[in-house]
């Protein structure tokens, strides 16, 4: 694990938490969406909070895919859950909201779970990425540059 990989995992955590909270804030402003009024989904996207939330979730998605290329799914997923802990800590220490004992217990459980996974190896499945065939890499590079010219 390099610093760069830890930064990618941090990106997964922060972008997911920030994106989710922006989205939920925006959706509370736009109100109910029903199956009979599908156009209300379009209206929801025009809300700036929803839009920022979607952009942050796109950033999350890029970091998430990056992480999945070198680590197991069951290794990366707990990293996203640290975002919930982050949100609760922000609520308590920045927004000075009341955090109930049950929520503190939730924070402790998630942190414990992440600690368990972080102590183990990042990759246990077949290590495809260690053996990307050289010719395949060259082929895809040629295909891409060929498509451009």
């Amino acid at each position: 694990m390099t610093l760069r990989k830890y930064l990618v995992l941090a990106g997964v955590t922060v972008f997911a938490a920030a994106g989710d909270s922006m989205l939920s804030h925006g959706m509370k402003q736009t109100g109910n969406i029903s199956l009979h009024h599908l156009q209300s989904v379009i209206l929801a996207v025009r809300n700036p909070w929803v839009l920022i939330g979607i952009l942050l979730l796109l950033a999350f998605f890029a970091a998430y895919m990056n992480a999945l290329s070198w680590a197991d799914l069951t290794y990366v997923l707990p990293a996203t859950s640290l975002g919930y802990v982050l949100l609760a800590l922000v609520a308590r220490f920045v927004l000075h909201e009341q955090v109930s004992p049950l929520r503190w217990l939730g924070i402790a459980l998630i942190s414990g779970g992440v600690g368990f996974v972080a102590g183990g190896p990042a990759l246990t499945s077949h290590a495809h990425h260690d053996s990307i065939p050289e010719h395949e890499m060259r082929d895809s590079a040629i295909a891409v540059s060929g498509g451009k010219s």
Partner: protein, 126 residues
């Protein structure tokens, strides 16, 4: 009736999320370590390999379905039930699916982690 709808919605969200996560993880394993690939062949090779992977598009479709079903379920379901139930059941479902379909070694350490995180998420969001 509303009860059945809510749990039906949760089931759809969880299944779509798990399918999306598994397909995306498989796609990225086929693409290979993007840091290595980027260094060797450049950004466009990374983008080309990702966009050329069918699992990526199938995973994207499943994730989109999960996203919109969550949006719908949150707008008519009980938020304090839908959000934590869907999130924590997805963690459990993913641990099973990763073991079966991705052949990840979900050992005792990872099972404990999945259960702790699922429980913690349920408590936090509830």
């Amino acid at each position: 009736m509303k009860h059945i709808c809510t749990w039906g919605g949760i089931l759809v969200i969880v299944m779509a999320s798990v399918v999306g996560d598994i397909l995306m993880a498989r796609a990225m394993k086929q693409v290979g370590d993007v840091h290595v690939l980027w260094r060797r062949s450049g950004l466009w090779a990374v983008v080309g390999r990702i966009l050329g992977n069918p699992n990526f598009f199938l995973g994207l479709m499943a994730m989109t379905l999960a996203f919109f079903s969550l949006l719908f379920a949150l707008s008519w379901g009980d938020v304090s039930l839908v959000a934590p139930a869907a999130a924590s059941l997805t963690f459990i479902g993913n641990a099973f699916a990763a073991r079966i379909f991705l052949h990840e070694k979900v050992d005792r350490r990872r099972w404990i982690a999945a259960l702790l995180v699922a429980g913690g998420v349920a408590l936090l969001a509830g």
